[in-house]
Amino acid sequence: MTHAAQYALSLHELEKGKSSREQKALVSSLVALLKRKGHFTLLPTILKEYEKYRERESDHDIVKLFLARESDRASFAKEIKAELFTRGVKKEPKVVFDATLVGGFKLKHRDTVLDASYKTQLIALYQKMISV
């Protein structure tokens, strides 16, 4: 872990459960600390790393549904519903459009990805055929 990442992680963990006033004070303390230790030039990198931590946390519980086009949502509604049920997900998934999927859908929940896209299956078919 780089120095900047260590500062970012510390800031991220300390700010949890704090009020916005306390968070502001925390940032001021960080700036003062960086100046005192001669690490002030790391500030932009620390902020970048901090953003990544925030993003990761906010992403963690979101279920993402990747579709090639809007119409696929209705076409695969039954399958998507079944998959969400299997995974015990009650929240409505966040839809992301990715035209490169060609068709089908992809469902991402935490670290698990269910890939039912045409693209992956076409690649698999292609690989199988060229290896014959």
């Binding site: 990715d98 990805v113 690649i123 199988k128």
Partner: protein, 523 residues
Amino acid sequence: MDNLIVEKIKKELEHFSPETETAEVGRVIVAGDGVAEILGLEKAVMAEMVLFDESEGVALEKALHAKKPLYGLVLNLEEESVRVIILGDANRVHEGMPVKRMGKVLSLPVGEGLVGRVVNSLGEAIDGKGEIKSSTDYAIERQASGVMDRQSVNTPIHTGIKAIDAMIPIGRGQRELIIGDRFTGKTTIAIDTILNQKNEPKETRPICIYVAIGQKESKTARIVAELEERGAMEYTIVVSAPASASAALQFLAPYAGAAIGEYFMDKGGDALVVFDDLSKQAVAYRQLSLLLRRPPGREAYPGDIFYLHSRLLERSAKLSKEKGGGSLTALPIIETQEGDVSAYIPTNVISITDGQIYLDTDLFNRGTKPAINVGLSVSRVGSAAQTKAMKKVAGKLRLELAQFRELEAFVQFAQDLDSDTKARIESGYRLSELLKQDKSVPRNFDRQVPALYAGINGFFNAVPVEKIGEAEEKLLSFLDTHHPEIFSALQSDKELTEVTEQKLKDALESFTKTHNELFTIES
């Protein structure tokens, strides 16, 4: 031809059932120097394979024409992330790239299809002879056979080098280290051993695996060309992880070689694997360990550097009859610096192996080739596997040479020496000369025995030292022409029976008489 392909495609399409695939996916957060840090993959296990998914966000047409899949190997499991080594072009990995768990430990294809081929550490063909067809995969890292699955070494593996087969014999299933400075002939010994297996009957001939680690590609190409030219590629597999390959592939190459050898061992056959060389593998592993931020120890090597080599060499074995009786013999090579055998890696490997062949720079420079320092070389188990014929002639040889080395220091006082000492020194010179051997001319044991017998029993005492080589050549061709039954008797009995010994004595007497031009020293 076109119809055939169309039919095949039709069949594939008819039977194609689209399947959904669930995978645990992480994302690359840091990548560089052949190592990537991945966030997620919480359930990843040590030494598991991961796949870098390059198709995300890429149009189908481009994804179809992508290069070969890029894999990684999990080596560090950390609190928040895992660190993997990239098994291929690290430039293809970028931050944010999805990485899938493969759910299996790193393995490579093994089987008869690999024989005669040159492959990389992942078992992929690199000789331009097309894809290798194999239906079996073996894990690169595997637990060595246990005590109950083994038996003691009891069959020799002939190197074809007189000095080794006579004094430092190697058995099938043994681990014999070849150690020495650069340019002392370490690789030559290994290659000669491979070449000599051509003399073995097909049924008992071991499959040879030459693992080139961190070598120049030109050197490996030269070795492959020589093996091909001499017909040795028909029972040899070359695993190449050249100096230009990533440290990850150099680190994995010996394990790949061992896995390929294990396949033949498990089938009840014999395999010989040469690791050329483990010093370079240790350097590659040190590089990876430092990049993986593991704490450095002595000479900056990581703490598990001993385990790196012990778990590899422990895989050599002579399996019990119940397990098929196969064997995997290992010839690891270690390069020393300035002849320092007490350095970190050499002492480690010396303590792991069942003996070592030490090659001396001074001997090499003086023209003694192979430059084996008999005093520092030893084989701890091989003598149990030596053929009776060789045992009979070699027992005396070691003793004579040891006495010669002690007396050699007194040579400068030659005038004051008694006749017995003088005779021992003279005999020592002749024996040392007899043990010299050119590269790429390994001799089968049935040819070594008569030559050594003649040397030990003083038949060459009247031959000037510089003519010993010539005398040996002439003796062997004389026996070939007039007494071929001696060779066949040695081949079949593996023993110097009284009858064969008498025949050999008679043949030597008649050789002495018919080749007066060689025997010019009067006693």
